[in-house]
């Protein structure tokens, strides 16, 4: 039986790593990720988690050590954010191209400058194309559950890709939430120890990280593209088996009050919960509005997303990050491209909100919708509109 506990979300993430019996944790401190690795260091120090904790000298070395330990066949976890994630950038591509099932929690934080320790999604957007499976959590329970499923997905022999579990820094990581904590035995039964297909073993020598000459590079990358695309149904399969075992179900795209919605917000991460409350208020005022939350960002759930927004005429896409000099934010760009490529005509408004820890209120979502509808009626484009700027 699961226990109901009140726990800081960072600690819930660390507890998930403990429940997963990780073999190696290599991490470097950076706000707002620190509580996750501090708690893991404690769990190791107190003998609750039998793992090697490598207190590396940088995030670059954190990911490098993770690559080494995963290549040695160990279940491997790290956590980072912001500048630290950016410092890992080079290594992230190598982890995925070597098909190493590393799990990383990212406590999403803005990027310098100006230096800001507070939340937005600029850090993860810079790592969008690194070949990792990436998804977003909205609350503490999801952090625990989705960290656990990350190991299951990553290590599946049909997948063998690293997984990045995104959680909003402070807004999620530093709040205490009620969490259902599964029993160790129940997790052990669902998530047995990692059995590598290939690893650094003197009894069976292999060469990893070889030179890819022009005659083989394209094929190597195609295999990787195919791997992440093929991971999609397996992610769903493991979320379904998690639901069966633990009773909580996750979908790549989740919809709220969209059945008859004329307009839907599109969002990722913890903002979605604020939008849902705003939607309730707007619904009470007679507006036909809903939310579509993208949980799985990579591989992108094209069919599910298209289906989820099929009925809405207007989409209000929230980007919690910036792209400089681009026609729209990264999320809105993808949404527009995938609708266009399928010949679907919709009005897609795009707002950049919640940057560098700025709160976004329910009223602001109402204003966004009003602005989008006004622009639509006037036949104007509404894109990269920054929310709440003090003029």
């Amino acid at each position: 039986m699961a226990r109901r506990v009140g726990l800081e979300v960072s600690l819930a993430c660390a507890e998930a790593v403990k429940l997963a019996n990780a073999d190696v944790v290599a991490a470097y401190p950076i706000t707002p990720q620190t509580h996750i690795v501090e708690h893991l260091a404690e769990l190791v120090a107190d003998g609750h988690l039998d793992a090697e904790f490598i207190p590396v000298e940088s995030e670059h070395s954190a990911m490098s050590a993770c690559i080494g330990s995963s290549a040695a066949g160990a279940r491997t976890f790290t956590s980072s954010a912001s500048q630290g994630l950016a410092l890992m950038h080079e290594m992230l591509y190598i982890a995925s191209s070597m098909r190493l099932p590393i799990v990383m929690a990212v406590a999403n934080r803005s990027l310098s400058g100006p230096i800001s320790i507070w939340n937005d999604h600029s850090d993860v957007m810079g790592e969008r194309d690194t070949g990792w499976i990436q998804y977003f959590c909205e609350n503490g329970q999801e952090v625990l559950d989705l960290t656990l499923t990350a190991f299951k997905i990553a290590e599946d022999p049909r997948v063998l890709l690293p997984v990045m579990v995104n959680m909003d820094g402070f807004i999620l990581t530093h709040v205490i939430e009620p969490i259902l904590m599964p029993e160790q035995a129940e997790v052990d039964a669902w998530l047995p120890p990692y059995v590598p297909q290939l690893c650094l073993d003197p009894a069976k020598p292999i060469s990893m990280g070889m030179v890819g000459v022009p005659e083989v590079y394209t094929e190597a990358k195609r295999a990787q593209v195919q791997a992440i695309n093929d991971s999609y149904p397996i992610i769903l399969e493991h979320w379904a088996s998690f639901a069966k075992q633990f009773g909580r179900s996750y979908q790549p795209v989740e919809s709220y009050r969209t059945e008859d919605a004329e307009a839907v917000f599109v969002s990722m991460g913890s903002l979605s919960e604020t939008i849902m409350s705003a939607v309730d208020e707007m619904r009470a005022a007679g507006q036909k509005v809903g939310v579509v939350r993208i949980r799985l960002w990579r591989p992108f759930p094209v069919a599910e997303f298209t289906k989820a927004v099929a009925k809405a005429e207007t989409l209000v896409v929230i980007d919690r990050n910036l792209t400089f000099g681009a026609p729209a934010g990264p999320v809105a760009t993808e949404v527009r491209a995938l609708l266009f490529s399928q010949g679907i005509q919709k009005y897609v408004a795009n707002f950049e909100a919640g940057l560098g820890g700025r709160d976004v209120t329910r009223d602001q979502f109402k204003e966004m919708l009003a602005k989008a509808q006004k622009a639509k009626a006037a036949g104007q484009d509404m894109t990269c509109e920054m929310v709440g700027v003090k003029e």
Partner: protein, 324 residues
């Protein structure tokens, strides 16, 4: 943990009669003719044997040994990037340690050895190396020092010696080539208080292999800095590698020593050093140097040798006395 001195007391010494025949690093790789670095690498691999788990930094040795689908490695080998061989080795060591403790893999005494060039060690990889040495992972780090970025076309590194002309420290009317002195990597490693540090030259192949045997026998981190002639980059004949590797020691430019538990041991005392000029004249990277430049280098080499003897005296007075 036992001391390095204790651990290497009964190490398996290599002699001309028992040189291992196995080649964990096989022939057929794509190194240049006369490459002193690949010879050093082969000797290290021979000394470790089939229980080697190799971690390579990006560089000549990685490129020439692993053009997919061919590999020169008969042992498990991983290459990740340029600056992080020590960090990757940390992870391999920690991963195996955890799995052995949990009974998921057998402890068959595998030895983890990280290889990097001088750029991957003294420049871009210095931070990762320092971290791994400080954390005390049980591994050996081998720096194959050919004194410049040879893989990218002979650019200077912090390990390039004073006066050497490289493509980014060219000699010219206003330059003598490299204007700074070679970074002393083995001393930096020793400053981490790791149990075992050594320098080696492929001209003394048994000494080189035995230092590797000691390094892998030592629990915790060991650092071995190997002088690795590069005929291509140094502008000398491929047949001169061993001669160069011998002269660099005989001129006291690259002294052979060990630091065991902090105690300095001179493994080859050079009583009657040859003038540095003999060494410099062999390589066209130094050909622009004038007699007064060579004099500056000679003085520096003399001073560095005295300084090293000072370390021997300070940390290992019995050995120093015996030498005198």
């Amino acid at each position: 943990m036992i001391s390095a001195a204790e651990a290497i007391k009964n190490y398996e010494k290599i002699t001309p009669k028992n040189i291992p025949l196995a080649e964990p690093f096989s022939r057929g790789h794509r190194a240049c003719q006369g490459c002193g670095e690949v010879l050093a690498l082969r000797l290290v691999a021979k000394a470790v044997g089939q229980n080697l788990i190799a971690v390579s930094a990006t560089g000549c040795m990685e490129i020439i040994s692993s053009p997919y689908p061919q590999t020169a490695w008969n042992v498990p080998w991983i290459h990740v990037a340029f600056e992080n061989a020590a960090a990757v080795a940390s992870g391999v060591e920690a991963g195996r340690k955890a799995l052995i403790r949990k009974g998921r893999i057998a402890d068959a005494g595998a030895k983890i050895v990280a290889f990097a060039g001088d750029g991957g060690t003294a420049d871009i990889g210095m931070q990762a190396l320092s971290g791994a040495l400080e954390r005390g992972h049980d591994f050996t780090y081998v720096c194959l020092d050919n004194e410049a970025y040879m893989n990218t076309g002979i650019q200077r590194s912090s390990s390039t010696p004073f006066g050497a002309s490289t493509t980014t420290s060219p000699s010219g009317s206003k330059s003598k080539g490299q204007m700074t002195w070679k970074k002393n990597m083995p001393m930096i490693a020793a400053a981490h208080n790791v149990p075992y540090v050594a320098t080696a030259s492929p001209a003394w192949h048994l000494d080189l292999m035995n230092k590797i045997r000691k390094a892998i026998a030592t629990p915790g981190p060991a650092y071995v800095h190997i002088y690795s002639p590069c005929p291509t980059g140094w502008r000398c004949g491929p047949e001169t590698s061993i001669e160069t590797a011998r002269l660099v020691v005989q001129t006291r430019i690259f002294p052979l020593y060990e630091v065991i538990d902090g105690k300095f041991v001179l493994t080859r005392d050079i009583k009657n050093p040859k003038p540095v000029e003999e060494y410099l004249k062999m390589q066209r990277r130094f050909r622009h140097l004038k007699p007064e430049d060579i004099e500056v280098i000679q003085k520096r080499v003399d001073a560095d040798w005295e300084r090293l003897l000072g370390f021997v005296k300070a940390t290992n007075p019995e050995a120093a006395e015996k030498a005198e």
